[in-house]
Amino acid sequence: MSANAIEFHGLIKTYPTFQLGPLDLTVPRGAIYGLIGPNGAGKTTAIDMIFGMGRNDAGTINVLGLDHIRDEVALKRRAAYVSPELNFRLWGRVGKAIRFVRGFYPDWDDVYCGKLMKAFHLGDDERISTLSFGAKTKLSLLLALSRRPEILILDEPTTGLDAISKQQVFSELLQAVEGGERTVLISSHNLSDIERFADHIGMIKNGKLLLEGRTDEIVDRFRFAEFFTENGTVISSRDGLVILRRDEKRWHALVDQRSETEEWLRGHGAKEISLTRVTLEDLFVALAKPEEAI
């Protein structure tokens, strides 16, 4: 059995104005994996492809050792998808949507479903069209969690949720992954949530994976650097160094501590280098910012 829950190998999807990949991404079993990236980076495209919404031009996707095309049904029985884009209006009422989805999953847990309905304040007789945006997301989550999936894939699950609802959603998610048997892949723009809850992250920009690894290790790897140079010194971004701002002699940059950039900077005339910790949001903004803006 593979140690990884989800594996993307050389995945490519080409559009007239955008190319996703080649993408190699690995989500370990039992992890809460945060997939982050700016708008239009290809997060939703990558996630959609797991569920067969569009076909990749090259590469493979393996979920729990199952190929996403060949073992489509088996994969979908073991993985659940949550997104605000999922529309349930067709079923009219909450109870009917639950009844419809339950029919597909032999492992459906009615008791857990009832518990979630209480926790999310969803009644079976409630009209789906009258649900708030957040309540619809909760319904989507309820339909996903009640089948006790081994993998939960969430695309922007906290969009439109207030702080209390967000807390509730994450608390249910954490309960669901307790014991390390379940895996969660979560794509979100809410970086403080990702930093708090995700133990692994992957960052995508322009369809390419920039970073991947344990959240704490990645955040710890990077530092904000402030340094001074003599007038006329030119330092530009390179591997392991992202120049963020320059005020005459004073420079602000993001430094990858693994790349021995500090020594390189000193060798190029940088003085008084001071390093400070970054948050995931700082890191995201620094790396995801369009290059011409730096």
Binding site: R89, G103, M117
Partner: protein
Amino acid sequence: MTRIILDNFLRRWRMWTLLCLLFAAAGLVLASERDIRISAVVMWISICTTGMDWSFGWVRVLRSLPFTAGQIGRVYWWLTVCAPTLLFAVFSAVGILIARLAATHGETLGTWLQMFIAPGPQDKFLGLWLETVLAGGLLSGSFFWFVSVAVWASVLTRPGKTRRESFLRQFAACAFVIALVAGIYFLCKSSISSTDKLVVAYFFGFVFSVLGWIRAKRLFIESSFRPDIARAGLTRGKSEPRPGYGGALYLIVRFCVFYLGIVALVIALVIGAYGIAVRVDHGAHWSDIVSPGLGELQFWIFLMCLIQTMIMGTHLKFLRSLPLTSKQLAATILCVAILPVLIIGGLWSSFFLIEPGFLSAVSILKFCLLNLAPVCALTTGVIWYNEKHFRRITGVILAWNVSLVPIIYQMATASRGGLPIWIIIAIPVVSVFMAWLTINRLLERNDMTYRLKWEMLGHRP
């Protein structure tokens, strides 16, 4: 306000051009077939197409602009009632004139002019044209009021605070439909003179048009209303899942019941209002009474197919995340569209098998089987989605028209035996197979199928 109107004309110039062509075509037909139903169909298509912006979220964009609700409501009225009526007046005149010109080809100019301007009977140009424009305008105004009153806005989309209130709303909608049927019955009653009928119809058309104008503001406010607010944080019903079967079968059954329910209602209305009023007076056979329903059925089958597939099209992302292969999902979508047609065809021909007999039943069955081709074309067309809207819509309309050819041929040549039976079986089989293959491929390969389409029914994120 002028900017909003101009913006609509510039953005949707293709739609307006097509409408103008449709109006001219209606004029051509009206010149020989003086049937108010032609105006009704044309104006209904017109209000559905010009009102598209309403469901694309246009109304919420306009709300942010510096206009009052009344102004925006009236702009909408202008665009859906007034502009189409004016264009209908111009282009139906063109159509009628072309028809007249063609009919009088070879005659002297003097004779033709005499036919054109001579006062008197309504079959002269001015009488016919005035009648057409008046009917078109009043129908358009009435449709606007009908939509705004609104079975859609008030009864279906806005829920009642209690189930009782919801029930009362739906009851009011039913009462309205019954009143409508009574109106049709009145119009069909042979003992009332056609002049009286016309006066009554125009009177109500005028009243409804005025009511539509008054309701325009309210319609805008109601369309901006977010149903979420009605919830007020209260949970309704039990916090436990309902018993019963689910899965794809549940979807098919639910859709079929809905589809069949609507079609059955229409058949009942047609038989009730039209059949009894026109036929019973003359002591006709019961099969003569239900026969008009067959013609009406055709329209409703396509309309229901379109609505159902469009609704389903907005849920494809969710449906695709369920443990179904693309082939199974394509088959489910097709089943939802085809099964009701087959059930209706089966029931309808069974009735005719009892009386007048086998030949009539087979004829009905052939008709229903041939209907599967346009139903398949329509279903595939609705599932197919890309950013080139005009090309897509034109393609779907063309495919649908082509798929209608066998039915038209069969109807035209029915008395001479019509199409051979093997063709009648082959056409639906090939159509269903082609549609299944195409839908499967769209679900499998085209990720646009899952995107954006949810906006089509005015879903508000």
